[in-house]
Symmetry: C2
Subunit: 501 residues, 2 copies
C-alpha cells in the first residue's frame, strides 16, 4: 500500500505507529510541524501526543507554518501538550487557552519564523513532523498541500518524523519549489523575478539518517471554513474592482494588474471571487494561500499563474482540484512561506495586498488580531509581510459587527498591527478611502464618510470635532479614545445614548 | 571659480541667480529637493522661494530625502511656501505649522518615497533641486554630502535645478554609488551582497537638456546638533555592548557582528561611540546616516566599511572629514536612501538596527514620532525600514524625560510606529529587555523591571496587576490605558498621587 511512496528502501524499517513515534518526544522539546491554514498538517502525531500526555507530562513549544486542521490545535491545547505556540493559530479551544494566559502565544509575521530559527533568535527545533506524499529514492521529501516552514524545520531538527498521507495523490509531486536563503554572510539575492518561476528543488532534501520515524495516514485535509460571498462582501469586491479599473485607466498599472495577494478568510476570498466577473485578464497571484476563489479564477482563465505556500479549499473544490491536478500543474507553485511572503520578493514584484482588518481607526491604523484590543483572534499572519512591502495595500472589513453593536471604524485602534505608514486603501461595503499621499487630518473625514456605517458617522464626526482643537499631526482626545470599546464592554453596544433614541 | 565644476560647456549659459531660478516655480507645484539629515541640502533656492512668496502666492508640495539644514524648512514654512511636506523633517517652526494643521505632513518610511513616486502613488515631481559638487562632461551630476532621493527626483522631474556648492570639495567625487530599481515588471534583484559593494555609477545621469538652471553657492552644511554622550547614554551603550558580546559568545554571530545601523540623534550616536571602547573589530555599517561616531570608529580602525545615504557631522568633525577625505574614500559609500534602507538589502545583510523611541509600552509597542500621542516630533524616518527587516532590532530611550515627570515606559503607547512584531530588544539606562521568543504576558514584567525608571515601576506593576484578571493575549485596562498621559497633560507629571507623597 505505502511501498510505492517510500522509494528509499533503507527507510522501510522506520515505518511505525504514531504511538511509537510519539515516544521520541520529551517534555520541554521544541517541535516544528507542517501545516499552513489547515492544509498539509500532520494528522496522526498530534493525536498520539495527546494520548501520551495522559500518562506523563508533555508540554511542548509548537511551531508550525500557520493554523492546523482536524482540531489538532485544540486537542493538543486541552491536553496540555502545547505550552508555547507560534506563529499563528485559528482554533477556538487554543484561543481560549491563549487568552487565559495558559498558553504563551508568539504572534509573528509568517515570513520571519524561519529566519528567527536560522539566526538563533528562537530555540532550535528538536523534532520536525512533516506530512508528505512520498519519500523519493534520493531521500527527497514530497510535501502535500502546503510547504509552510516544513523545509526549515526539516533542515534544522535533530530528528524528523514523516507522515505519509495515502489520501494525498501522487500527482501532487512537482507542484512544490523548495528554496531557502543561505546562512549569512554568504547570502545571495533570491533569483525570483516572475510569480511562476521555479528557483529550487521539487522536494525537501535532508540526510535520510535523520528520519527517525515514518507514520502512514489516510485522512484528507480539513476543508476550508470560509463562508460564501454575501451582499456586503460583494459590495467590498465591487469597490476594489472599480478602484483597480481606475488605476489601469490612469496608467499606473497594466490590464494584467500586479501580482495579487489575498489573506485567508471569507472577505478576502469574496474579493477575489469578485474579480471573476471583471474585465481583468492574464492576472497572477503571489500569495500565501490559495482559496476556492483562486481555483475559480484559474478555471475562468483570468488567472494565468498562482504562487503560494498552501492550498486550502472547501470540500467540493478540494475534490475537484485533486481530480484535475494535471490541469493546474503548470500554473501553480507552492513555496516555503519564507519565500511566498518574503519582503524582498513582495517588494520586487510590487504585490497588490488584500487583507482583512478587525477594525481600523479614523487615521488609518489597523487592528488585525486583538478583539477589544486585548483578546487574540488568530494572529497577524502574513498581512504585515504583504501590506508593508506591496505596491498597494488594501485593508477590508464589514463596517459593523454583532448586528451593528460594534463599529469597525473607531476613533483609535486599541491594538495596532499595521500602522498608518503601511495602509494605502481602506474598504467597507459602504465605500473606499484612498489614503495615498494624505496627511492624517485629511484621512479622517475621508475614512468616516466613505467607510464608516452611517449609524456611526455622526459619533465619529463628533469625536474628530472634539479632537481637532487640541491640535497635533494626529489629533485625539486620549481620555475618550477607547470610550467606544468601554461602552461595548459595559452596555453591549458602541452606540452613544444620543444615537439610540 | 566655478568653471572647473561645470564640465559640460553647453550648460554654462544655464548659470543664473537663485532669484532667477526661483521664477521657474509655479503655485501648486511638487518640488523634490536634495538634503538628508541636514546634509547635502540646497542652500540658495529655499531662500529665493521665500523671497518670491512675499510678492505672490507660492504654496508647494516639498519632498526631500529627510530633514534640511540652514533653517530652510522653518523659513519656507513660515513664508507659506510649504503646503505639503514629506517624508521627514526636524525643524521647530515647521513642526509648529504641522501640529497646528497648517502644513500637511506625510510621515513615511524613508525607503518608500522613491517607490511611491515611481509607481504613481504620489503626484510626480515637477522640479528637482539638487546640490552638487560638479557636473561632469557627460552630464553626470556629482552629489555632495548626501544622496537621499536626489537621483529619483532628477530622473522624474520635468526641470532640474543644480546648486553647485563651491564649499564642497572636489574630492567628494567617487564617494557615491547611484543605483535605482527598474520599473516593474522588469525589475531584477538588487545585486548588493556586501556593505561596501558598488553596484551603480558614481554620478546621477540625466539628459542635460532637462537642467533648467545652475546656481552657484558657497555655504557649508549645517552642523549636526546631537549632544555629546552623558551618563545615561553611556549606560545604554554599555548594556548593548554586553548584550552583543553575549550573542557572539553564544555563537549567534561572529566577532565582526552583523552590519550596524544607527538612527539619527544623540542616543544612537552615543551607542555607537560606546563601541569605540569595545573589543569588536572589523565592524561594518549599513545605515542611513553616518554621524561623528561612525567617523570615530573608522579612525579607531574598528569599523572596516560604512554604507549610508548621508554624512552629518559636528562642525569640527566635518572639517576634519573634508580635510582627510582620501583616508576614508575606500571605506565609505553613499547611496540613494531607497537602497541604503531597502527591505531586500536590510534583510539579506541581517542588519543590527539601533533606533530611538520616544516611549514604549509594557508589551513592546514603540512610539517614535508623536509627543503625547498626538503631536509630531520629526517622523518615523528609516527606523521601520531597519527594525522590520533587520536580524536584531533594538529600541533605546532614556527611562524618563522632563526631570522625571514623563516615563518613557508607559502602560500603552498612544501612537504606535513599531508594533510588538518588530521589536526585539528594549534598552534604557537601567537595563535591557530581550523580548525574542516571548509572549506579551512574559514581556511585561521584564520591561517593567529591566527598563522602567524605579520611580515608575510600582505604578506599572499596579497597572499590569489590574489588567491581568481581565484576560487576553495582551491584557489592558482600556479606560486607564492613557491615564498617565492625561495626568501629565493636567498635572504636569505622570506620577500618581500615592507615588508623590
Amino acid at each position: 500500500m505505502h511501498e510505492d511512496r517510500i522509494r528509499l528502501p533503507a527507510l522501510m524499517d522506520k515505518v511505525m505507529t504514531a504511538a511509537d513515534a510519539a515516544r521520541l518526544f520529551r517534555n520541554g522539546m521544541t517541535v516544528g510541524m507542517s501545516g499552513f491554514t489547515r492544509a498539509g498538517d500532520a494528522k496522526a502525531l498530534p493525536l498520539a501526543l495527546v494520548e501520551r500526555a495522559r500518562s506523563e507530562p508533555l508540554a511542548l513549544t509548537l511551531i508550525t507554518g500557520a493554523s492546523l486542521g482536524s482540531d489538532s490545535d485544540g486537542l493538543m491545547a486541552n491536553a496540555g501538550v502545547v505550552a508555547r505556540r507560534l506563529p499563528f493559530q485559528s482554533d477556538a479551544a487554543l484561543r481560549r487557552k491563549i487568552n487565559s494566559g495558559e498558553v504563551m502565544f508568539i504572534d509573528q509575521h509568517l515570513s520571519e519564523t524561519a529566519e528567527q530559527l536560522r539566526g538563533g533568535s528562537l530555540k532550535p527545533v528538536d523534532i520536525a513532523v512533516i506530512e508528505a506524499v512520498a519519500i523519493n529514492a534520493d531521500g527527497g521529501i514530497v510535501p502535500t498541500m502546503s510547504v509552510g516552514n516544513s523545509a526549515s524545520f526539516a533542515e534544522q531538527a535533530k530528528q524528523v518524523i514523516i507522515e505519509i498521507n495515502l489520501s494525498a495523490p501522487l500527482a501532487l509531486e512537482g507542484l512544490h519549489d523548495i528554496y531557502l536563503p543561505a546562512q549569512r554572510p554568504d547570502r545571495a539575492p533570491i533569483p525570483l523575478t516572475r510569480t511562476g518561476q521555479r528557483i529550487g528543488t521539487s522536494t525537501i532534501h535532508i540526510d535520510p539518517a535523520r528520519i527517525a520515524a515514518i507514520v502512514i495516514t489516510d485522512s484528507p485535509d480539513s476543508p476550508s471554513n470560509v463562508l460564501p460571498p454575501d451582499a456586503e462582501t460583494q459590495a467590498i469586491a465591487g469597490h476594489i474592482v472599480a478602484f483597480l479599473e481606475a488605476e489601469v485607466a490612469a496608467g499606473r498599472m497594466g490590464p494584467e494588474l500586479l501580482p495579487l495577494q489575498a489573506g485567508i478568510g471569507t472577505i478576502a476570498n469574496a474579493v477575489l471571487h469578485g474579480l471573476t466577473g471583471s474585465s481583468f485578464r492574464n492576472l497572477s497571484m503571489y500569495s500565501e494561500v490559495l482559496q476556492d476563489s483562486a481555483i475559480a479564477l484559474l478555471d475562468s482563465g483570468q488567472l494565468a499563474m498562482a504562487s503560494a505556500s498552501s492550498i486550502t479549499l472547501s470540500a467540493s473544490m478540494h475534490e475537484r482540484f485533486l481530480r484535475n491536478i494535471e490541469r493546474y500543474r503548470d500554473r501553480i507553485v507552492l513555496r516555503p512561506q519564507e519565500i511566498s511572503n518574503h519582503p524582498e520578493l513582495v517588494k520586487r514584484l510590487g504585490v497588490i495586498a488584500l487583507n482583512t482588518a478587525l477594525e481600523f481607526d479614523i487615521y488609518g491604523n489597523v487592528n488585525s488580531t486583538h478583539v477589544g484590543g486585548t483578546h487574540m483572534m488568530n494572529g497577524i499572519g502574513g498581512s504585515g509581510d504583504f501590506a508593508r512591502n506591496g505596491q498597494l495595500s488594501f485593508f477590508v472589513s464589514k463596517s459593523v459587527a454583532k448586528d451593528g453593536a460594534i463599529s469597525s471604524v473607531v476613533p483609535m485602534a486599541p491594538h495596532v498591527d499595521h500602522t498608518e505608514h503601511d495602509v494605502d486603501v481602506l474598504v467597507t461595503e459602504w465605500g473606499l478611502a484612498d489614503l495615498r499621499g494624505l496627511a492624517p487630518r485629511e484621512r479622517a473625514p475621508l475614512i468616516i464618510e466613505r467607510c464608516a456605517h452611517p449609524d456611526y458617522r455622526a459619533q465619529l464626526r463628533a469625536y474628530l470635532d472634539e479632537a481637532l482643537p487640541r491640535g497635533g499631526q494626529t489629533p485625539h482626545v486620549l481620555e475618550k479614545a477607547y470610550s467606544w470599546h468601554a461602552r461595548y464592554r459595559e452596555h453591549g453596544t458602541m452606540r452613544e445614548l444620543w444615537q439610540c433614541r
